[in-house]
Structure formats: C-alpha cells, structure tokens
Symmetry: C2
Subunit: 143 residues, 2 copies
DNA sequence: TTCTTACATTATAATTGTTATAATTAATTT
DNA sequence: AAATTAATTATAACAATTATAATGTAAGAA
C-alpha cells in the first residue's frame, strides 16, 4: 500500500492527473507480482472499467514510464511487459513457459564503467536477462 | 570468408539446403558489421534477387537462428535485429541514434551460477545490453 | 534419366501489438 | 460557472511478422 501511495505522490508532484483508470492500472501493476502485458492489464480491469479503451492502458503505461514509475520490458517477439519499478533488479526468464522471476545482483556497475571506457559511450544504464528453464519445466524435460 | 565457409558447413551438417537466397543472406550478415533488420537485408538484396519475398528473409533468419548461426536481438518497439554469432559478446546501444557497438566482458558466468542457485532455474544463457549515448551524440547534447 | 517426394520460395492475406486521430468527457483554473 | 486544458474513448491506421496456398526447385529412388 505504501508503494501505491508513493507512486500517486510521484504523479501529483509531476503534475500528472490521477484518474480512476490510472489509479487502477497502477494498483494492478503493484499488486500483481508478475510482469503483465498491456493486454493482460486491459483484461484484468475490464470488470471495473467496461468502457476503458486499450489505448488508455497504453497511454498511461507510457506516462508512468516517462515519470519513471514503470519499466517496459521487451523480450522476443511477443508483446511488451511492464514492471513497476522498485529497486533495481534483473529477470530470470523461463524459455518454456515464459515465467519471469526477479533476481538481485549487486556488482554490475563495473561493467558499465568498462563499457564506457572501451567504447567511449556516455553510459546511462544496462539491462540483463538470464534465460533457462524454471524448476517446474525443467523437471518435465526429457533427460 | 572463413566465417562464411564455416557457416555453410554448419548448414550442410544440419541438413539445411543452401539456396542462393540463403547464401546471400548469410553473406550479407557476415560482411555487414552492423546488426541489420530483416527489412534492411531484404532491401540490400533486392538488386541481386528482385523476386525474393520478405517472407524468405524471415524464414531463413529463423532457420539460421534455430541452427545457432544467428542471434535475434529485440530491443524497444522497433524491429528485430539480427547478429551473426561469432564469439559471445554484449551490445552497447546509443539511445539517441540507435548505433550498436560490440563489447566483450569475460566474467558473467558467475551471474548465471548465482541466478541458478537463487531461483532454482536450469540456466542456459543470458543477455545484457548497455545503454547510453555514443561519442557523437554525447558531444551534441546540451550540458 | 525421369519420377517422386520433400523442401524453398513467392505473393498475398491475415494477425498482432501498438500508435494516431478525432470526438467526447472530465478535471482544473480563472 | 465559464473557459481551458488534459484524459478517455472508439476507431482507424500502421508496421513488423507470420500463415497460407501455389509454384518452383532440388535430391534420391526407380
């Protein structure tokens, strides 16, 4: 609940209106510990907001991203997934069922420094994903 | 040239037919040191193969990916980019102009091990991208 | 070689995720 | 409350990719 309150404060501070739809999308993102797609959010809120447009979901996710509340994750060819930003973390992804698990790892700043040094880029950030099979899928695989 | 030859051998070994189109796509991927999109490849080979279909490009890129010759890179919302696999490396990407520079970093196996340990996943591989501004774009930015 | 079968390519249509547009509605400022 | 600004809706457009069906091509069997 604290997260939601803080997020709403962030919106207020940046002059973004807090509409019922935005509230609902944010709340869903925070509560669902998964990393939903825009369509999943849309479908999940269909009950509460029968008239809400998909465009609204996309629009608001973009707004949240611009404000820094939400990260857009784009894997493979499927649709983008959205992650409420808490602390910096990485994702471990099951190539079989698509499950995404958060994973913390401290020391990758060094990589940024080295990359900056080698390429001359002004490095801002990085992302990393680890791929494999989740325990459930791994146990089902043929050996 | 050696790379192309080896790639063709790989195709032969895996029973994939080497058609003129496949040869051309592979050659283009290897020679262009960039990371072209399917459409760029399509347009680049238009001269040589006026009748080639976009589907052929996509089909063959998929075949190459399945055989392990090519990696598909999917960033943001733009179109996928394709990278001929040589040695394992990471990408440094300019958020302004989209330029992609290769970058080597040895010690990220440890991350895989830790991830596996913490999440119980059977980890297969990982990817990492570093984002920032390339020297050219950085120098143009307002300070 | 010719026949047969399996695979590739082509052209086109369909699909999917996302964005743009215009009209309507709601919220904030004056 | 009136005026202004922003948000939502419904719909159309778009772009990247994939599926489909027809045609073409190559490799192995007869």
């Amino acid at each position: 609940m604290k997260q939601l309150k803080e997020a709403l404060d962030t919106l207020k501070d940046t002059g973004v209106r807090i509409t019922p739809q935005r509230h609902a999308v944010l709340e869903y993102l925070i509560n669902s510990m998964s990393h939903p797609t825009a369509d999943e959010i849309y479908k999940a809120l269909e009950g509460k907001f029968p008239n809400m447009s998909v465009a609204t979901v996309y629009n608001n996710l973009r707004v949240f991203r611009e404000v820094g509340l939400v990260k857009e994750l784009t894997y493979g060819d499927a649709s983008a997934r959205f992650d409420f930003v808490t602390t910096h973390h990485y994702h471990v992804i099951c190539e079989n069922c698509g499950k995404i698990v958060d994973f913390h790892y401290p020391g990758l700043d060094e990589v940024e420094h080295l990359a900056s040094h080698v390429t001359g880029f002004k490095v801002e950030n990085h992302r990393m994903e680890i791929y494999g099979s989740c325990p459930e899928c791994a146990s089902k695989e043929v050996h």
